[in-house]
């Protein structure tokens, strides 16, 4: 069977029905996207990889519970990842409270990617993003980096569309204030 032609929803239905190979396609479709999303929320590549692995493990465990036709598979998957990121951020917060000296470890640490992280502005944007409250950061990443619709973001974050817009507004304003003239100069 040509799994690649099936939609995400059909693939997860197939997997829940025992078609093991359908899962390979789901993983190949979403690994990079979920990783980018997680790394932007967490600011750390290694932790983001752990979160992505855990997210797929949960998809495997709960594939039978996915409600076909009720929500898009991608929305469900992003929601799982977001919850795992929140869990991880809480752990990090507790850890930080215990070990104040690990502040320096906030930089993204990922050896193979150090070259791509070199640009000064990218680093500034990432740092400013990390300083945002999680709810605002999630909305900003999903809307302005993953290009999701407001309705999809509302489902992932379990919030109203109006709330999503107001969080996005606050996130953008905070980032624009933080990055200030650098953003304006860059635009020109």
């Amino acid at each position: 069977m040509k799994y690649r032609e099936l939609s995400d929803e059909e693939l997860i239905y197939c997997y829940a029905s025992g078609e093991v190979r359908a899962f390979d396609i789901i993983v190949s479709r979403y690994t990079q996207r979920l990783f980018r999303f997680s790394v932007r929320l967490l600011g750390d590549a290694q932790t983001a990889e752990d979160v992505v692995q855990e997210a797929f493990l949960r998809v495997h465990m709960h594939a039978g519970r996915y409600k076909y036709g009720v929500a898009k598979f991608s929305t469900w998957l992003y929601r799982i990842s977001r919850n795992l990121c929140i869990e991880e951020l809480r752990k990090q917060k507790r850890r930080k409270a215990r070990e104040a000296e690990i502040d320096a470890a906030q930089e993204i640490v990922h050896e193979p990617d150090t070259e791509s992280l070199g640009a000064e502005f990218d680093a500034m944007l990432r740092k400013a993003l990390e300083a945002l409250p999680e709810e605002q950061r999630t909305v900003f990443v999903l809307r302005d980096m993953e290009h999701m619709t407001y309705e999809e973001i509302a489902k992932v974050t379990r919030a109203r569309v109006g709330t999503v817009k107001s969080r996005l507004n606050r996130a953008r304003n905070a980032l624009a204030e933080e990055l200030g003239p650098y953003v304006g100069r860059r635009r020109k």
């Binding site: 069977m1 099936l6 059909e10 239905y13 197939c14 029905s17 078609e19 093991v20 359908a22 899962f23 390979d24 993983v27 190949s28 690994t31 990079q32 990783f35 980018r36 790394v39 590549a45 983001a48 990889e49 992505v52 692995q53 797929f56 493990l57 495997h60 465990m61 039978g64 076909y68 036709g69 009720v70 993204i108 990922h110 193979p112 990617d113 791509s116 992280l117 640009a119 502005f121 990218d122 944007l125 990432r126 900003f140 980096m145 817009k165 107001s166 996005l168 507004n169 953008r172 304003n173 980032l175 624009a176 204030e177 990055l179 200030g180 953003v183 304006g184 100069r185 860059r186 635009r187």
Partner: protein
């Protein structure tokens, strides 16, 4: 500047182009005369451009393999609890199988039919009218009362099955699941 608070909350809608014409014109008029909002909107435009261009951080190359290996391991070691296995066998599988529903319906209808015929033949006093009808039918058509009861029962059974055949389809529609071909 004094009016900025009111317009700041509308930046998202302004940039999405989702403001109605009146509000859009009001906001444009405000922005033209407000250096703060003008500057903020310019910064926001730059920010969105920069966010779109933010260099992608790639995962390690073997991440997909590690995910699949971990899931395969979980699959191999998974031992569902007796309750979930019972739920799977008794509820989930039958619900997903049209054959199971039809077979169950046939068995129950045949059992009822057998009991009905047995009662009519052995104890006609329990259903005198039905027994009379059965005797009359057997004398007109020929064959014994048992044979006539079986023919009548088979007709009812056929009608029942026609109705029951639609049950799994209705069930699937109710569950909001569409057919996935070849899966």
């Amino acid at each position: 500047m004094s009016d900025c608070g009111r317009w700041e909350s509308q930046y998202v809608n302004y940039m999405d182009g989702s403001l109605d014409e009146k509000r859009l014109n009001d906001m444009r008029r405000h922005v033209e005369g407000c250096s703060h909002c003008k500057d903020m909107l310019e910064r926001l435009g730059g920010l969105l451009k920069a966010a779109g261009e933010l260099s992608a951080v790639e995962p390690k190359r073997d991440l997909e393999d590690r995910i699949l290996a971990r899931v395969a391991e979980a699959r191999a070691t998974a031992r569902p609890s007796w309750a979930s296995r019972l739920y799977e066998v008794v509820i989930l599988r039958p619900l997903h199988s049209e054959v199971t529903v039809i077979v169950a319906a046939c068995v129950s209808v045949l059992t009822m039919l057998g009991m009905f015929v047995y009662t009519l033949v052995t104890q006609p006093e329990f259903a005198p009218h039905a027994s009379e009808l059965l005797s009359e039918a057997s004398s007109r058509v020929g064959g014994g009362p048992v044979l006539c009861a079986i023919v009548a029962g088979a007709i009812f059974l056929g009608l029942d099955l026609m109705g029951l055949a639609a049950a799994p389809l209705l069930l699937k529609r109710a569950r909001g699941q569409k057919e996935v071909h070849g899966c």
